[in-house]
Symmetry: C2
Subunit: 243 residues, 2 copies
């Protein structure tokens, strides 16, 4: 059976303006690879409801899962929950269980329950909550869309809990060979190797270090024996390379 | 006149598998903001021709510019140039001027001109070359799509040359106020402020540092006087905050 597929949707003006560097995509990509879910696409959109709705509809129709990050805080620019409700045409409002989780956390910190904070208990109808062990305000899953916070520590904690509930496939195995030759010299043999192993993904990632050109050759696949066989062939093609 | 708009398309399995962290989006975002081009969306797709073609057609129809990174090297997994040609239904082949640039660079390094290296001189018909001062192999612009390398040093060098040829708009100005209050306490006043300044984008980016919750409030806009006016109001709303 093929692995489940996924897309990520990063929501936030601050990434597109260059103010903030997204780090959640890289984290999610590594976790999904280990879990056997194939991340096929990622998008970054601004805090604009029409853009979020369009991306959600498109991605949720095409992939097994859609993971979002960003836009679920208490401020006016946090519009992700409403956009998800709009995308799936379901009502949204403050939900009692989410409200109780928030109120307990707020009370423990001696803060006040404000209308702004209660915005974080707005959950689209029919959604399942995703636990937030860092700052309480929950994420949620609606259908195949999983809505998480943008703050990396919270995103990572939510994802850990969520992934434990999602069925994975075969993890993608990967081995790397470092070759101190310019890509132009390895491209021919590598192309032949890739043609002999259609079940593998064989990539070449050039680098230059202190004036020396080289490349990391990465062999990826679900079949460990085939990955290893390709690595043995690579070792013969490029003697002196380092794993 | 409104600013030109843009999207970025990052091409590469290695980003989606978690092997490599993309850094070109953040770099491009900052440069475009300074140049007065509004980056509206970014996508990451795998080294799959159909996916690249679909994204190119969609994005190039919706934005003034599309900037791509990745997939223009000499190896079999470098398929961006062919995907661009396919997306716009133009022929592609080795072009004499690109070939001459490559051959001169290769000769100067004492390397050989291989069929793999010549792949990097494949340019879609009608494209303009983008100079590569790092490793010679050029990028190109076809219509409103600008095709650049994925290696950050090369991407950045190509972008510098390219941006000098693109008409910009008004730079997006931005000022930040750091407030040591949890977002839930600033959300109400911030929402009112945003309503009074529809011409500005006012964002709030929470942080926690050594147990203290706070937020960076970022005011963005093209009108410097209005950005400053909003900052003065913010200073009154949150005395004791630091710019």
């Amino acid at each position: 059976m093929p692995n489940p597929t996924a897309a990520m949707l990063v929501i936030g003006d601050e990434i597109l303006s260059g103010r903030t560097r997204d780090v959640n995509l890289h984290h999610l990509a590594g976790k999904l690879t280990l879990h056997g879910i194939d991340l096929r696409e990622a998008r970054v959109v601004a805090d604009v409801q029409a853009d979020i709705v369009a991306a959600l509809r498109d991605l949720s129709a095409r992939y097994t899962h859609v993971f979002t990050s960003g836009g679920i805080g208490p401020t006016h620019d946090d519009i992700t929950a409403d956009a998800v409700a709009a995308a799936f045409e379901v009502p949204i409002g403050v939900r009692d269980d989410a409200r109780a989780i928030l109120e307990e956390f707020i009370a423990a910190r001696g803060s006040e329950v404000t209308p702004a904070r209660l915005r974080m208990a707005r959950i689209p109808e029919g959604a399942r909550l995703i636990e937030n062990p860092v700052s309480a305000a929950p994420g949620f899953s609606l259908g195949n869309v999983h809505v998480m916070a943008g703050v990396p520590k919270i995103f990572e904690a939510m994802l850990d809990g969520l992934l434990a509930t999602l069925e994975g496939g075969k993890p993608l195995l990967s081995q790397t060979l470092r070759v101190e030759l310019p890509e132009g010299d390895i491209a021919g043999p590598l192309s032949d190797l890739a043609a002999r192993h259609p079940g593998l993904s064989i990539g070449s990632y050039p680098y230059s270090h202190q004036g020396v050109f080289g490349a990391n050759i990465v062999v990826r696949g679900q079949d460990g024996a085939e990955v290893s066989a390709a690595m043995v062939e690579l070792g013969r093609l490029f003697p002196g390379a380092t794993v």
